[in-house]
């Protein structure tokens, strides 16, 4: 769990005891090995996390399928009971998990209905077909269940024990030089890449609240570096059948992210945001690297400071378990419902084809195979991150699927999560500006992805 205020306090005390070094080095090394180390996987290279997800799916696929039924059903029943029935949640955790609004209650119930009808094969064709239920319940959600189970215990190794601060400090001058941002932005950017996009945005907002970033800087960091974390990139690649080129895929995501970060701050709407600090803040000094310190010294200091306040083993297990339960029971059922509704609209209505019709000639002109099937991906990513990949899953051309998987991750501003948080964060970005940033990111990402797919990857 991320506790930036505590980090700030801990930075003042320089704990270089052996136990603190071990607390910094061991989990960080394990985390880096789990998510960043290339290992052979079949005919190609993958990451240990990917091997574990595949192993879980391969050996416990049936169990995961029925676990999804149990999770969605339990979530729907408990949410109805505690939100609209006589049940009174007795702990703050129960309130957080199971008391919700009518919209979310409806989505959780729909998620349970879709899952049961697909898994038992008793639903109508529009629910149990491979293009709808088969994609969402059969492919995406079983992968997500495994991902959540592993990532809720694995990612904190990267984000909570000093690795993020260490690497962030090493990159701080690069960020300052390339993007004209305070060095601290490297750590906030890494919080998304190594942790969670939503959390990355919130850490950035907190730095803005403290006066480390100006409005423009905070908006630049949040709209350029809040990319979904590595495990989700892996699941997207796997969903569209590209896990065998995961490193090439992730490399392209990094290149496109870098290109967007170079261009976006220099053009409207980001360039027109005020370069003012939040009213009432006085601490405008970025202390990521202190005067006279080398980057390694700063990284070590910040990493050790973070390790000092990081959870001990029992807390680590408890936090992971709490997050896992929250994700399974609060998020999974709603994700089933949202993804199913979107795919049913794609498969059984012309809505997305109308929306994407203007882009078909452009993609055809760019020489993309199955341009008509890929075109909806250019627009639906504004609603939710999973949608482009879900829609593009059945495209036959490998290059086109590659583009779709890249867009899924690189468009970055999706209103179901990052966009909604940005709107609430008082950074001065409205929905029109977010849509503009989304469009610019798509315009930058599409040709680069097509070029890389055509000339480098395949």
């Amino acid at each position: 769990m991320t506790i930036p205020e505590s980090v700030a306090a801990a930075v003042q005390s320089d704990d270089r005891s052996t136990s603190n070094w071990l607390k910094f080095v061991i989990p960080s090394t394990l985390g880096a090995a789990l998510f960043l180390m290339p290992v052979p996987g079949g005919d190609t290279w993958t990451i240990p996390f990917g091997v574990m997800v595949d192993w879980l799916n391969g050996n416990f696929g049936a169990l995961l399928k029925w676990a999804l039924v149990v999770v969605t059903m339990a979530s729907a029943v408990l949410t109805l009971w505690y939100s609209y029935g006589p049940g009174k949640p007795s702990t703050p955790m129960m309130v957080q998990y199971f008391r919700t609004t009518a919209v979310w209650t409806g989505l959780r119930c729909l998620g349970a209905v879709f899952t049961i009808l697909y898994t038992t094969g008793t639903g109508p064709e529009w629910i149990i077909s491979g293009a709808t239920g088969g994609t969402v319940v059969g492919a995406l959600m079983t992968n997500l269940l495994a991902l959540f189970a592993l990532a809720s215990f694995g990612l904190p190794l990267l984000s909570d024990y000093g690795f993020m601060e260490f690497v962030g400090a090493l990159l701080s001058r690069t960020f300052h030089f390339l993007f004209r941002l305070p060095g601290r932005s490297a750590i906030d950017g890494l919080a998304s890449w190594l942790g969670a996009a939503a959390l990355g945005v919130m850490l950035t907002v907190q730095q803005y609240d403290k006066g480390v970033y100006t409005t423009r800087e905070a908006a630049v960091v949040a709209t350029n570096f809040s990319i979904v974390s590595i495990p989700f990139c892996y699941v997207i690649a796997k969903l569209v059948g590209l896990s065998d080129v995961f490193f090439a895929y992730y490399g392209c995501v990094l290149i496109i992210g870098f290109a967007c970060a170079l261009v976006l701050p220099r053009v409207p709407p980001l360039s027109r945001l005020p370069d003012d600090y939040k009213a009432g803040t006085t601490n405008h000094i970025d202390t990521t690297v202190r005067e006279g310190e080398t980057l390694v010294q700063a990284g070590t200091r910040l990493g050790l400071a973070r390790a000092r306040i990081a959870p001990n083993f029992p807390e680590f297990i408890k936090n992971g378990f709490d997050n896992l339960v929250f994700m399974w029971f609060s998020l999974v059922p709603a994700t089933v419902a949202i993804a199913m509704i979107a795919l049913v609209l794609v498969e059984y209505t012309p809505v997305f084809h109308w929306l994407s019709a203007p882009f078909v000639p452009i993609l055809n002109w760019a020489g993309l195979a199955e341009a008509e099937a890929a075109a909806p991906s250019l627009v639906v990513g504004f609603a939710d991150m999973y949608l482009p990949a879900l829609i593009g899953k059945s495209i036959e051309s490998q290059e086109t699927r590659f583009l779709v998987a890249i867009l899924s991750v690189s468009q970055l501003i999706y209103m179901s999560e990052v966009g909604a948080i940005l709107l609430r964060s008082n950074l001065g970005l409205n929905i029109g500006q977010l849509a503009m940033i989304f469009v610019i990111r798509t315009i930058i990402a599409t040709p680069i992805a097509i070029f890389l797919a055509h000339y480098v990857v395949f």
Binding site: T2, P4, S83, A196, A198, S229, N319, E417, R424, S425
Partner: protein, 139 residues
């Protein structure tokens, strides 16, 4: 001397003019009422978040900063500030029960008619279900 405890739900994300609200509260605070400000971070769909608890904590911290700024601008002493996460109206009712509020003073939000019809309003839900008096200020 009065033992009145006034709960004031604040939407920290809006630029609402709070002059009328503050005028009422200043008058009550002058009579010795305990003033409690609260805000609620509405639920959000954290679909790709593997640390939703951490994100919710961060959102609550941010809302706390904004609430503190509102409290600082108030021309009276705010005795307590509370931040919650979840559905807004039930959270307000929870806090009212926890602090033994004798009055909930709430601004009516300006919503479009269609939205208000479809989703109802926080103020009307609070007014319908609270166990104490509720004053809704229309501005």
């Amino acid at each position: 001397m009065t033992s009145e405890t006034v709960l004031v739900p604040i939407n920290v994300g809006s630029e609402t003019d709070r002059a009328a609200l503050f005028a009422q509260l200043a008058e009550r605070a002058g009579r010795g009422a305990t003033i409690v400000f609260m805000t609620v971070v509405p639920e959000i769909y954290l679909a790709t978040d593997t640390d939703p608890k951490g994100t919710i904590e961060a959102m609550q911290e941010h809302a706390g900063v904004l609430l503190a700024a509102v409290a600082e601008a108030a021309p009276f002493k705010v005795d307590r500030q509370v931040v919650r996460y979840g559905p807004v109206a039930p959270a307000i009712l929870d806090v009212a029960g926890e602090i033994g509020a004798t009055l909930i003073l709430i601004n009516a939000r300006q919503k479009g008619r269609a939205v208000a019809y479809a989703l109802g309003s926080v103020a009307s839900r609070v007014a319908n279900h609270a166990h104490c008096s509720v004053t809704v200020l229309r501005h």
